[in-house]
Amino acid sequence: MGKPAKLVGVLLLTLTCLILVLPAQADEFTPEDLERWEQEFMAVVDEGEKQFHSSQLGKNQVSCDQCHPNGANTHPETYPKFQKQLGRVIELFEMINWCIENPLEGDPLVADDPRMIALEAYIHYERRGVPLAPGKH
């Protein structure tokens, strides 16, 4: 076996080791990790539940749950969808902002406002198990 062939052999062996070992390392998360990530998520869902039931999200004391108990009738699984009243395809946060600005007479939130993310987390969580249906009216 010549030198170049030896080098190729060593490289191949190294690559094989990398392929076998690296992904295994990347996938090494523990039940404790899973539990923590779930807790992180649920903390945001809980914050979303607070915001959803808060009379302070808008400016007229009205809260989201007055029309949407348990987040019902919000259909998060259908976004993005064509919102006929706006004449274009929108994301869920845009409809949440519509509600904040109109029935709640408040100021809209930016899409990555922690309160908006929390509201979306709560609305999605209450809808868990329902198949995705983007575009459905």
Binding site: Q61, D65, N70, A72, N73, P103
Partner: protein
């Protein structure tokens, strides 16, 4: 003017009528059981949820719903014999809300009978409401029909009387429909004893109409579409030939028939609620008979709100729902099947896409 005779009421329900823009529920009852009874109509307005912001400000949207229904009800001709207000005049039971609501209601031309709602009750246990409107439960007779009004939004003493830092905490806990720490509605022992005694003196052929805030049925406990002692109340009503229960609280069209008893919900003037089936995490026992109202368009703030005329005829109640943004609906008692029937949509072939809730 909204002129309706019985023929129009029952036959022309699909036709475009002057009344179609009106968010009113007209109920016509015809209870001719003794032969002496006359047809008559009354109207039903409910669930205004007048909400105080602070100072002299109230939530505009809910004010407008009640004001609109009153303007429309004032145009009814012939005049209904009287009105019902089905409860939840206020959002958090304060004097400001009850006073403001009653001031708006004072523009309604005609006698009004009031029903207690949980939003009127749980701040001071109905004290201010009672000081303005009289007893929380009562009965009266009208043209051969016996009317009973119940306070069906009581609950267990443990919940009502223990552990609240302030009365407003209790009020807000009950005002939150989806509160997992809420408590089921109850008519209660004391009122049931009163009802038993009240009904003892009534001939069993006399039609009876019961008005409550919560459904005297068990539909979905999570949102208190529920009365915990419903069976005991229905047992008291069972000996009567014709009974109708009218209720608010649910902010949607519902109807049902259990034995001799017909059930109809009335619309809210404030906002609509989803049907329980649209909450993915819980099972409900929604009446199969009901053809749902259209799914609400949030961009039209009076959509899926309304009021109703009630026609009392031959001892049964025919409901006509006045819906501002949809075609009006009539749900009338069908003497052939012995239960309420939507005059246009009852046959599954006639249902429309907006009737699908999910």
């Amino acid at each position: 003017m909204i002129r309706l005779n019985r023929r129009e009421f029952l036959i022309k329900t699909g036709a475009a009528m002057a009344a179609s823009a009106l968010p009113i529920n007209l109920v016509r009852t015809a209870f001719g059981a003794t032969g002496a009874a006359e047809d008559f109509t009354f109207a039903y307005i409910s669930d205004a949820h007048i909400q105080h912001i602070g100072g002299t400000e109230f939530v505009r949207n809910w004010d407008r719903g009640l004001i609109r229904s009153i303007h429309e009800a004032n145009l009814l001709s012939p005049r209904p014999d009287f009105f019902f207000f089905g409860g939840d005049l206020a959002q958090l039971g304060t004097r400001e809300e009850i006073d403001h609501g009653l001031e708006i209601m004072s523009k309604l031309r005609g006698k009004v009978h009031y029903v207690m709602g949980e939003h009127d009750y749980y701040l001071d246990l109905g004290e201010y409401w009672e000081s303005q409107l009289g007893p929380q439960w009562y009965s009266f007779d009208h043209k051969g029909v016996h009317f009973v009004v119940l306070n069906s939004v009581l609950t267990y003493d443990d919940w009502t009387f223990n552990g609240w830092p302030a009365p407003m905490d209790r009020m807000k806990a009950m005002a939150r429909l989806d509160n997992p720490k809420g408590s089921p509605f109850l008519v209660g022992k004391k009122q049931r004893a009163w009802l038993k005694k009240d009904l003892e003196k009534v001939n069993k052929n006399i039609p009876v109409v019961v008005c409550s805030h919560s459904p005297i049925q068990k539909i979905y406990k999570g949102w208190n579409f529920w009365t915990d002692d419903a069976e005991e109340i229905l047992a008291l009503l069972k000996p009567f030939r014709k009974v109708t229960v009218l209720y608010g609280h649910v902010h949607q069209i519902q109807y049902n028939q259990i034995g001799n008893i017909s059930f109809h919900a009335v619309m809210a003037t404030a906002w609509p609620w989803p049907y329980p089936e649209s909450y993915a995490q819980a099972a409900s026992h929604f009446p199969e008979l009901t053809v749902p109202m259209n799914r609400a368009d949030p961009f039209f703030e009076r959509d899926a709100t309304g009021w109703q005329f009630i026609n009392v005829h031959t001892g049964n109640v025919d409901m006509r729902y006045q819906l501002p943004n949809n075609k009006d609906r009539t749900v009338a008692f069908d003497t052939k099947t012995g239960r309420p029937k939507d005059q246009e949509y009852q046959d599954p072939k006639n249902r429309r896409p907006p009737h699908v809730h999910y």
